[in-house]
Symmetry: C2
Subunit: 288 residues, 2 copies
């Protein structure tokens, strides 16, 4: 492994990654001794300047291979995706740093179908779950329909940290993300040198099932909110019949599914426009 890429500012108002990128323009001393080069990128400088998620379209949905090959696409992010995809080409590992308004703690998301079969990713997850209490969210997408930025590298880790209001910095969130990333790079370096102690144990993985929209009026406005009992309860079990939403008159809408699920991205600001109130997961345990 020769190149590890760290990306901040894929969404311009998710500021932990933007300011870690700026901080790391002076690379930490330890990085000099690693057996790979670390490259840092500010993915969407236009959106960062505007302190918005994006200018024209979501950069993190702009990496479909067919879109990268299409020279007629006109948006800012379509150009930026082509620029970045060329830069990332051949990189063996990419970390993409995000924030959520949802109470996700530190969550690692994987979108490539075979990520969790990769021995390095397995070791990294086991270590970070144990030492940084990260959660693992697996949402595999076939390569030809994968629109996410990290899919442009050979191995990808999307890092989500919250809760944090978009467009703000929070010192606890910032330093927690920094510490986790520095440790992650250390593990990758040890693994590369054959010195990583083999982690063992149970890895809890949240497997993506489905997205759920808010209740809506005929005009498309919200007809309800996430139930107060479910707000901030990301990665907690939701049983059939549990409160899911509450309408503006105070009436509870229960979860009508037939089996327990584990919701994530609950009431995430960025997903209002995508019509997701939350994503539902199944819980799976992988034993190593």
């Amino acid at each position: 492994m020769k190149r590890v890429v760290i990306v901040g500012g894929t969404h311009g108002n998710e500021l932990s990654g933007v300011y870690l990128y700026r901080l790391w323009q002076t690379p930490p001393a330890s990085w000099k001794h690693y057996p790979f080069k670390i490259e840092t990128y500010l993915a969407n400088p236009g959106a960062v300047k505007a302190n918005r998620r994006y200018l024209d379209q979501d950069l993190n949905r702009s990496f479909l291979n067919s879109d990268l090959a299409n020279l007629e696409l006109e948006t800012y992010e379509a150009q930026r995706a082509k620029v970045l995809a060329r830069e990332f080409q051949g990189a063996e590992l990419l970390f993409d740093l995000h924030n959520t308004t949802a109470n996700m703690g530190i969550t690692l998301i994987f979108s490539q179908s075979d990520s969790l079969n990769d021995p390095l990713i397995q070791q990294l997850c086991l270590y970070l779950v144990q030492t940084h209490q990260v959660k693992i969210y697996n949402h595999p997408v076939p390569a030809e329909t994968n629109p996410y930025l990290p899919s442009a590298a050979q191995r990808e880790v999307t890092v989500e940290v919250g809760p944090l209001a978009h467009g703000t910095l929070n010192a606890d969130v910032f330093f927690k993300t920094q510490a986790m990333m520095l440790d992650a790079l250390e593990i990758v370096a040890q693994w590369q040198s054959g010195q990583a102690p083999a982690q063992q144990g149970d890895l809890i993985v949240y497997e993506h099932l489905d997205n759920v929209d808010y209740p809506r009026t005929e005009q498309g406005h919200l007809a309800g909110m996430v139930h107060p009992g479910l707000q901030d309860q990301d990665f907690c079990e939701l049983k059939p019949g549990d409160p899911l939403f509450i309408d503006f008159d105070g009436k509870t809408i229960a979860y009508a599914g037939s089996e327990s699920v584990w919701p994530v991205f609950i009431n995430e600001q960025a997903y209002y426009e995508k019509h997701f109130a939350m994503s539902l997961c199944r819980k799976r345990v992988i034993r190593f």
Copy 2:
């Protein structure tokens, strides 16, 4: 008093007011018996549609009398301010509903220089402090330089409720705001009918002193964040020497003032662009 105005969506991504406006298009039954008419407005429909604070400029800084009189101003919000100012003309009381990412609870802000000398406002504040734990933030601005939307009515109350990520709804915040507003209107109705019980007691008022910016680099980027010990501590005492900011290397920057202050709007998202990390207040007690 003949007309009471309630405004939501002055900032398009502060959703409690937007959805209370929508809910109240079917007026609560009690409103029919009040000795005044209640009018509701969605202040910035363009920004609401875009789920952004504003399209071209902050609508809540667009009500300078000289700007309202200037027909050459070109922005969307300059037009909207003129439209709304005409609608509000002659209204005796206006409530403007906002949200904050800062941990402000329910805060009532007054910008007219004589608001707190008004017997109705006094009674309203005493009642709402006791029953809804609201905070009173007084930030008087001379009438000729007052740019705020509520200044277009005879009496004004800006209602801020947080913490809430902009662009999201939270059921607890929504219902807390609704309950406070319904009680406030009831008190106004009783006062108007001469039936309001005279509230007595001490009213704690936070008097605006100054705004404080984040530490910044030469390029204008942030050089630090609100200190974790101060984050979410709105309306708490900050003493000389207490931690104020923390830089990205973890070094604390202390508050260098010579007297205690009470910060508000701590780390408010909407004020990053205005270069305010927080506003500092003095605490004053008015005895009634």
